[in-house]
């Protein structure tokens, strides 16, 4: 899958591979060992956050789980 930053796809894939391994082998088993992917994540983020700014994608200041307010069902 491509990154929104055309030059970031390779960094994204390397990070994803590291994350998927850690997620299945450590995190889901409740192991609280450190995250081995922080370096890869940093490099990937530097690239992708720049692309997001350049493309004016409005994710800045959007609160985590932002729209998760009580809503009426019908």
């Amino acid at each position: 899958m491509n990154s929104v930053g055309e030059g970031c796809t390779e960094l994204k894939r390397e990070y994803d591979q590291c994350f998927n391994r850690w997620f299945a082998e450590k995190f889901l088993k409740g192991e609280r060992s450190g995250d081995p992917c922080t370096e890869l994540f940093k490099q990937y983020q530097t690239c992708v956050q720049k692309a997001i700014k350049e493309k004016d994608i409005p994710i800045d200041g959007v609160e985590f789980m932002g729209p998760n307010k009580e809503k009426p069902g019908s």
């Binding site: 899958m1 082998e25 995190f27 994608i57 994710i59 069902g73 019908s74």
Partner: protein, 210 residues
């Protein structure tokens, strides 16, 4: 005025398989409209929950009758945010997905709760809710109806794509643990995606997979 939709479905995979597959959903044969995928935020909380934000770019498809009423310069790409919390202690995941572009034309928010199926612990239940609204003057009701119909068909695609990825991960190697199989499939999937996208056959040969 808001259109509300809810449904409960299930995937024939254990919670850990499904949660692992969640991060490997794209691409799949049902996701041609998804153009890009990025993790833009991630954090493990002190109580061992994983918070993530995923940014997606999707093609934006308006029906022909609506195109007349939309600005001619309106982008054909839509940006969507998906926030998620994975709790490996409770074996639950909550996701919230909403569009951050075209929101005044139509806003779709979807909340999913994943948990172990209470009737069959080898399956995973997905409870899905959506709120669809539009502020387009005079057209909001038509847009909402369109939005609801499209949302329902996209749920079908979502589940098919998820099942596809899960089935690939589950494989035919019963002697391995679930996690090992998932990891191996994840590596194979990542490798296949790499080869397909860039044709870097030589790079693939350099990598070693146990």
């Amino acid at each position: 005025m808001v259109k509300y939709f809810s449904c409960v479905g299930f995937l024939k995979g254990t919670w850990d398989q499904v949660f692992a597959a969640f991060w490997q959903r794209y691409p799949n044969p049902y996701s041609n409209h998804v153009l890009t995928e990025d993790i833009v935020f991630r954090e493990v909380t002190p109580d061992n929950r994983l918070l993530s934000r995923r940014l997606l770019t999707k093609t934006s498809r308006a029906p022909r009758w609506a195109e007349k009423f939309l600005p001619s310069h309106m982008a054909r790409k839509a940006y969507i945010i998906e926030d998620s919390v994975v709790d490996s202690n409770n074996r639950t995941m909550v996701t919230l997905t909403w569009n951050i572009s075209h929101a005044r034309v139509m806003s779709v928010e979807e909340r999913c709760v994943y948990r172990v199926n209470p009737d069959n612990s080898n399956w995973t239940e997905i409870k899905r809710e959506a709120w669809i609204s539009s502020s387009l003057y005079g057209l909001s009701r038509a847009v909402q109806e369109f939005g609801l119909a499209r949302f329902k068909s996209s749920v079908t695609k979502t589940m098919k794509g998820f099942e596809y990825v899960l089935a690939k991960m589950q494989g035919e190697t019963p002697t391995r643990t679930l996690a090992e199989t998932a990891t191996e499939r994840a590596r194979e999937t990542a490798l296949a995606a790499k080869e397909k996208a860039k044709g870097f056959a030589s790079q693939a040969q350099k990598k070693q997979y146990v």
